[in-house]
């Protein structure tokens, strides 16, 4: 029992806590995934294996219009969000990295603020903005996409700027010394070096958009703007079928596949260390 007297010296006590924590954090989700494959209406009693809640004739993710539309709308928003936030964020990162002197500190703080603002504050602010000032846009898909871009933008900037810092100015300077025109310095030297960070930031923006709940809910209008997260919120406590677990599982597979792809791309070009820091969402 030496670890009781000196628990920090021998890690058995710590190992127990860590193992317990990992089980606690993973097993409930694995059970939720397992019940997506339940051959019955219960989400608590196992009735055999089936994929009926994914592809079955009635009430499945594929054939129930409410579920299918929610998944479609979630993906639509994610695509718009990535298409807008990535170029906007890459440009902001490049600009901020070289912008020295007056104003750069303020813009840097402004860029980081959405990362630490509780989502309900942003949700309320954007809701009132689209209700009272930009009534022309109004609530719905456009507002939801704009809201998601506003806070995914910061993640794109942080990831791309991290890569800019680790590349350093040497390559660009070398290209300039060798007489490359400025256009080529960017397109033939910087862009290829930045490419993995751009891919990774797009993937992170995609994953964050898919899993976003608060801002998306606040800016939604009618049933056609329901996303998977909103569906989970509104029906988790009702008496739904395992189809809810099934759609959550599909959502999870899409998110994790996107991130795995980004991690592999980033590790291939920028090394394991940097790739891990993106996966841990270090901001």
């Amino acid at each position: 029992m030496s670890w009781l007297r000196n628990p920090w010296g021998r890690p058995r006590f710590l190992m127990l806590i860590t193992g317990g924590y990992i089980l606690w954090s993973v097993v409930p989700v694995l059970l939720a995934i397992a019940f997506a494959f339940n051959n019955g209406r219960s989400r608590t009693t196992w009735q055999g294996f089936s994929t009926r809640w994914f592809t079955g004739e009635t009430g499945s993710v594929l054939h129930d219009s409410a579920l299918r539309d929610a998944l479609g709308h979630t993906l639509l928003l994610a695509v718009i969000c990535v298409a807008v936030a990535t170029p906007l964020g890459v440009a902001l990162a490049l600009g901020l990295q070289r912008w020295r002197g007056r104003g750069s500190g303020t813009v840097n703080t402004l860029m980081l603020l959405p990362l630490v603002t509780p989502e309900i504050v942003m949700g309320v602010a954007l809701l009132l903005l689209f209700l009272r000032l930009f009534g022309g846009i109004g609530l719905g898909t456009d507002a939801q996409a704009i809201g998601q871009v506003t806070f995914t933008l910061s993640y794109v900037v942080v990831i791309v700027r991290g890569r800019l810092v680790s590349i350093g100015p040497e390559y660009e300077e070398a290209a300039a010394d060798l007489g490359a025109p400025r256009r080529d310095q960017f397109s033939r030297v910087m862009l290829p070096l930045l490419a993995p960070a751009i891919v990774a930031s797009a993937a992170v923006a995609f994953a964050i958009s898919i899993d976003d709940f608060v801002v998306t809910q606040y800016l939604s209008s009618d049933a056609s703007t329901t996303t998977v997260s909103m569906l989970l919120y509104s029906s988790a406590r009702g008496a739904p079928t395992p189809a809810l677990n099934a759609i959550a599982t599909v959502n999870l597979v899409i998110t994790l596949a996107t991130l795995t792809f980004a991690y592999l791309v980033y590790r291939r070009f920028a090394g394991r260390e940097e790739a891990t820091s993106i996966a841990t969402l270090e901001v």
Binding site: M15, A32, G95, R100, V116, I120, T150, Q217, N251, T276
Partner: protein, 305 residues
């Protein structure tokens, strides 16, 4: 190289975007909170600060001052968040410490297990517990079988057998811990992992016991990581409404986020909702800037070393 305006121009679209959809949006909250409402109780913003009407903000303040529902909900929020953050620290520190120091060849696998929950939809993770804690759920059975349910009943942490999802503060707090702890452990893991091992070796060489090397070297050096992690999870907890909605579904466990959500989205008291959002933002502003300052300092030291 290049004119000094080139890079400002490149940054411009992003700056304009954030100015309109973040700064201006926040100004609308001010204009609504200091505005009025029409006969359909829809908000009528007062755009000019000279025309601001302090009536609704004052009413909200009075509600706090006279111990009204807003004060009660706010105190409950602080209590829930404080307990949830403390529990996260208690569980999270040993895990982060073990993963950073003692995991050995398992380090990669453990890190992966710590990262994955971060990327699983928060609402799916709540759905998982709702399934488990339903009266006939597997989790309820296990808690009953292990005697934990009985322990919680005796301690007064649970009102009735099997009633985990019926307005229990205990369930809400544990759900908050479950939901946000991955965001606490990872930055802490990074902080502990970055501590130079030579500091600890030096302490041991100079005769410190393992115990005092931990308490006098490792723990103080990981303090910035602990504080950053606490702030990082406290901020979203203060604005959370969905956790309490999902695992309790009772107004008995309402947090400030639930109060704002009821006023803004469900009810028709958007002006009061905006005023309350304003108070919440002011309350959290200190924490937000503290976090930005510490992480930026960490970033600059990482660059210079």
């Amino acid at each position: 190289m290049g004119s000094r305006w080139t890079w400002r121009l490149v940054a411009l679209p992003g700056v304009v975007w954030l100015s309109v959809f973040f700064l201006l949006a926040f100004y609308v909250v001010l204009a609504v909170a200091f505005g009025n409402q029409d006969t359909l109780s829809q908000p009528v913003p007062h755009w000019n600060p000279l025309d601001w009407n302090v009536g609704y903000v004052l009413d909200t303040l009075k509600n706090f001052w006279h111990g009204g529902p807003f004060l009660k909900v706010s105190l409950r929020t602080v209590e829930f968040v404080a307990i949830a953050v403390a529990l996260s620290l208690l569980i999270g520190y040993p895990v982060a410490y073990f993963a950073a120091r003692h995991a050995g060849r398992w380090k990669g696998a453990i890190l992966l297990a710590l990262i994955v929950p971060l990327w699983i939809n928060y609402l799916m993770r709540m759905l998982a517990w709702i399934n488990l804690l339903a009266p006939d759920g597997i989790g309820s059975d296990v808690l009953h079988g292990l005697g934990i349910e009985k322990l919680f009943l005796t301690l007064g942490l649970l009102d009735e057998p099997g009633g985990w999802l019926n307005g229990q503060p205990t369930t809400v707090i544990l759900a908050l811990v479950y939901g946000y702890i991955p965001f606490f452990i990872l930055p802490l893991f990074v902080a502990i992992d970055r501590i130079d091992r030579r500091h600890i070796e030096a302490a041991r060489d100079l005769g410190a016991s393992a115990r005092s090397a931990f308490f006098r070297v490792t723990l103080p050096l990981s303090l910035p990581g602990i504080l950053a992690g606490c702030v990082l999870i406290a901020l979203p907890m203060f604005g959370d409404y969905y956790t309490a909605d999902l695992v309790s579904a009772s107004t008995q466990t309402n947090m400030i986020g639930n109060q704002i959500d009821e006023l803004m989205r469900q009810g028709s008291e958007k002006v009061t909702g905006a005023a309350l959002t304003l108070f919440l933002s002011l309350f959290l502003l200190g924490l937000m800037f503290y976090y930005l300052r510490t992480t930026r300092r960490a970033g600059t030291t990482a660059q210079t070393t």
